[in-house]
Amino acid sequence: MEKFISVQNLSFEYEAIDPDEKPTEILHNISLEIKRGEFVAILGHNGSGKSTLSKHFNGILLPTKGDVIIDGINTKDEEKLYELRQKVGMVFQNPDNQLVATIVEDDVAFALENLGVEPNEMRSRVDEALKSVKMYDFRLHSPHQLSGGQKQRVAIAGIIAMRPECIVLDEPTAMLDPVGRKQVLKTVRKLNREFGITIIMITHFMDEAANADRVVVIDNGRILADNSPKKIFSHVEAMRNAGLDVPQVTELCYELKKAGYDIKGDIITEAECIDALEKLLK
């Protein structure tokens, strides 16, 4: 797979209000490469800088030092800003604060209207986007008639309509109920598998991260670990030190292993855990 995003020695700091004080550094010398079609989860506890990092992927924030290159475009290149934003779409935490229009289909069309797409072409792209998140039947509803999960899917449709190559989701399920979370995750996985869209998902839910191809752990503005979920979660102690949990099943197996039972240490899904426990009980 070719490389799609390349973060090179990125540092980011907010200037202090008082000019005599030192600026606060949020990200420190981060280098990261993401390939086209990958599903990457970025994990970190509150204040680790994971949201700040995500805002660098489509030029909302610009690096203080270093560069972020998306598919050959440097995010500092102002002339290509709209091309960049079309390539990399962003979905935020609160679904309510992302919807602009009073009717679902108008909202999905919003980005296309901004890009000056032809009305007929727009119609077909809006319908297509709504169908791919399974919200087509709700196209004439107004956003406040929808549940949180449905609203978040509409927000995703609004991004998909732009036909982006990558979607960055900043804690998309943090404000949703379990049903809404499941719907959104299913949609995200489908977009990754069926349409080959690169997904970068910021989260602090461990079981969500376990779904990804790759997990990047951020702590204190630095990359702490970058590996497959299996490898990452098998270091239970290291994760705890970074203020993070591991999925419940991983923790269960870890504790069993510590107590002297013969069980694998890299279990991250419920199915695997059930298998292992069955074997153990036989």
Binding site: I60, M90, T102, N114, V117
Partner: protein, 272 residues
């Protein structure tokens, strides 16, 4: 409790009035207002009245709904009628004790009553048959010529759209904050007016803070979706006018002309 408030008062339907191009509907409503105010004599009000009643029947909006929108203005009607009757100079035609009422006063009163009632009824018909978003689109389109003098037409329309979009959200939030404050023992519903006004502060401050936060997040989300104001923008739903709109506007103009004809024909009319 706050959720019951409907704003925009749109009453969905498929009637001919609903399906008219909203731009034409706005122009027709304005012409209709001129029709009511250009009438100089009582008979000249007839075209306006017929026009409104016909539109109302065509729209299939229940009469009771119009009645509802008229209720709040009853005190206003009574007040202006009293002022008109007693403060108008002229030859008195009715004398009861020291009260003298001039002919002109009676005529003006009757005309004001009819005008106000039909003004409200006609304009409510516009909001009942046109969704707020259609109205916003139509206003943007009608004001488009003002862009030449750098009037921010698009920004204004976008602001109206966002306001409409967030009314239910903010109402819901107000409800939540009120409940949260009540749970902490805030007394919002009882006490003197001053006390209640003071208690409202505990609701308004969190509401404002959250609204400002929302605005920031929304702006960010809009930027991520390539929003850059009016530059190179297209619309998915194009406003389309057709034969029915042209016929409607021609009819409206004919009614307006009729008002002027009647004004001329009855210029010396005295009913009694």
């Amino acid at each position: 409790m706050l959720k019951d408030i409907t704003i925009g008062q749109y009453f969905p339907g498929q009637s001919i009035v609903h399906r008219l191009d909203p731009r034409y509907k706005i122009i027709i409503t304005l012409t209709y207002i001129i029709m009511l105010f250009a009438a100089a004599k009582i008979p000249s009000l007839i075209p306006g009245v017929i026009f409104a009643v016909t539109a109302l029947i065509l729209s299939r909006i229940p009469f009771s709904l119009i009645g509802k929108s008229l209720k709040p203005i009853i005190p206003l009607i009574i007040f202006t009628t009293i002022l008109n009757l007693f403060l108008y100079d002229g030859d008195p035609v009715i004398k009861i004790g020291f009260i003298e009422i001039a002919y002109d006063a009676i005529e003006t009163s009757i005309m004001t009553i009819i005008r106000v009632i039909f003004l409200i009824a006609g304009t409510s018909l516009l909001t009942y048959t046109t969704s707020p978003i259609m109205l916003t689109d139509a206003i943007e389109s009608l004001l488009a010529p003002l862009k030449k003098i750098n009037f921010p037409v698009h920004d204004l329309a976008m602001m109206m759209t966002i306001a409409l979009r967030f009314i239910p959200t903010i109402i819901e939030e107000t409800d939540k904050i009120m409940n949260a404050q009540k749970a902490r023992g805030a007394n919002i519903e009882t006490g003197s007016l001053a006390q209640r006004a003071k208690a409202m502060v505990t609701i308004l401050i969190p509401l404002f803070v959250s609204a400002v936060k929302r605005a920031g997040e929304l702006a960010l989300a809009m930027e991520c979706r390539c929003y850059r104001g009016d530059v190179g923008r297209t619309r998915m739903k194009q406003l389309k006018s057709g034969a029915k709109d042209y016929i409607a506007i021609i009819l409206t103009m004919a009614f307006l002309a009729l008002v002027f004809v009647l004004n001329f024909a009855f210029r010396n009319l005295e009913l009694f």
